[in-house]
Assembly symmetry: C2
Homo-oligomer: 349 residues x 2
């Protein structure tokens, strides 16, 4: 799965709005195209938009005309701000952009800045995939030998630099010889579960069953689910998790039915500067995502719509948070604060 | 809203699969067409399929060729069995068919049977609308003066002989001068909330906001909902409720957030012969309803699917059950047993 690649000074993105029907790539030659691709969710998933954002800074550096170091960096900062604002909820985007920006500011001339921005973006991509593999190994210990696991949205290879967070845990469990079946919620409005998770897992040979979001409670109440594993877009210092709309609902249902609820995300998703979920901005997306499916209208014209893209799952519903540096259990405030941050990551905080 | 009408010896049904884009009617000249329309959900909603099933018995009586009373009734019984089996979960269908069948068996000749079957079907239709208006008046007392009410699926005029059960309560509250806003879940897979409830309420001038099913938890957790009102397909003797898939999820979320959860249904929906929700058969519908929306595929070809059409909400999540004979609060076992049954209804039990 090569959803994000750098080739010939362009960023090539697998267009996730067209999957699974068509495998189409978007070639971005400037940072504005990457911002548009992030906004339109052609690339989505917190770690993946972090990687794309980092490459967008490299593209901006490639294109800027200023020749003096200071003027160049001022222009680069403007581009960085625009890239970081493409979507508000996932912290990985601003984290990755800030990391490349800081690295650029340490260089002494324009050529070095350009080379450094690209190198840092590549490093973020490589580290993300490595983090997912570590997270998978550690998180797999939570999965029973024979397990049916419910997941929501797509926290897979497509949402990351590769392997996946929540789906990485399932991949690692299977690589350890466990018998893992998956129930994937379709994840309205944009159907990432039906279009991406079901597709990605079937390509990998998983036994996957698709349900509508409204069926999650039913299968949980019938004892058909051994645990829930989802990704995250931002984790507050107290362990509250912002993730795809519907995650909170599943977490409450899991607790009500005594089913463990796990969150898998790299340390870059943890935002210690955000004390709790109340402080996380929830992106409201266009009404057409709700009133139309694949371009087909499904509701009366002009009906009022709410379309929050994320919700907040309070930490009391979360059994454990899996990162590349270990599995954290409640109380999260202490545990998350103790996790090592990567050298580059620490430097931006 | 004339969703079910009898005209010129045919049953005319508003095709609810085509709403809100097209207002198309299906004319049924024989009972088999009604069975097909019920199976294909061209008519849906527990009280509405009860009314349609009753008219289907009248159509069968019209068409049967036997001239001896006994042979005629034996053939009619075969048709009744087939009609009652069109869908398994809503008890109103078998209740209405049985009521017409019993009335037919009390007649002395074929002409009287034919006349009686049609008269009984008409009576069921009239009583259902009257029941909804009584239910609305009684249930409206539960709605605050200024209220945002969450509802799921369509328990409106379209789901009944008119006025609606859950939506009847909201209509009555508004007629009493209350300021009622509605949040309607889209209700995947068949989108009755987006297609029917949003349409029906807007036609009536209600302030209605559409959300995906996955957003119900979010709006409940934010304090945006004052109460939930839904319909029912079958209510067991202990108060457990079978209703559209996703109802259980909303009930758990409502309780978790301290929001009252009300069920509105006529006494014909209460099945005292079913002790609890465990004994209610849950219809599993075709996978295409999940993998396709409006004919457009949204999932990988051949993916495994679950498609239960209903779920069971245990009575402990239900704040009150509203019927045409009063509002019943826990403990339900005693309260539901005390409700008067209509003379005709009582005679079939």
């Amino acid at each position: 799965m090569n959803a994000i690649s750098w080739d010939n000074n362009r960023l090539r993105l697998l267009d996730q709005t067209r999957l699974p029907r068509e495998r189409v790539y978007v070639d971005c030659a400037d940072y504005q195209s990457v911002v548009a691709a992030i906004r339109e969710m052609r690339v989505r998933g917190a770690p993946a938009i972090g990687v794309a954002g980092a490459y967008a800074v490299a593209l901006a550096a490639n294109r800027l005309a200023a020749t003096s170091r200071d003027a160049f960096l001022r222009a680069l900062d403007v581009a960085c701000d625009e890239i970081a604002r493409a979507r508000p909820t996932a912290v990985n985007l601003s984290w990755a952009v800030e990391r490349v920006r800081r690295a650029a500011h340490q260089q002494s001339d324009v050529a070095a800045i350009r080379a450094c921005a690209l190198a840092e973006a590549r490093r973020i991509q490589e580290e993300d995939e490595q983090a997912n593999r570590s997270m998978g190994r550690l998180g797999a210990a939570l999965i029973p030998e024979r397990a049916t696991v419910l997941t929501h949205c797509n926290a897979g290879a497509l949402a990351t630099a590769g392997y996946g967070t929540a789906l990485g845990v399932l991949r690692a469990a299977r690589e350890q010889g466990k018998d893992v079946r998956v129930i994937a919620t379709e994840t309205r409005p944009l159907l990432q579960g039906a279009r991406l998770t079901a597709w990605e897992l079937r390509e990998d040979g998983f036994d996957v069953t698709l349900i509508t979001d409204s069926m999650a409670g039913h299968v949980l109440s019938r004892g058909e689910v051994d645990c829930v594993v989802v990704g995250a877009d931002r984790i507050a210092a107290n362990g509250d998790v912002a993730n795809k709309i519907g995650t909170y609902t599943i977490a409450v249902l899991a607790k009500e039915n005594g089913v463990p609820f796990y969150v898998a995300a790299p340390v870059s998703t943890i935002d210690l500067a955000t004390p709790s979920g109340d402080a996380i901005a929830i992106e409201e997306r266009p009404p057409e995502e709700v009133t139309h499916i694949a371009g087909v209208p499904i509701a009366p014209d002009g009906v009022r719509v709410r379309n929050p893209a994320f919700d907040i799952t309070p930490h009391r519903y979360i059994s454990a948070i899996v990162t590349e540096h270990g599995v954290t259990r409640p109380p999260y405030e202490a545990g998350l604060g103790r996790l090592p941050r990567s050298a580059s990551a620490a430097s931006v905080r």
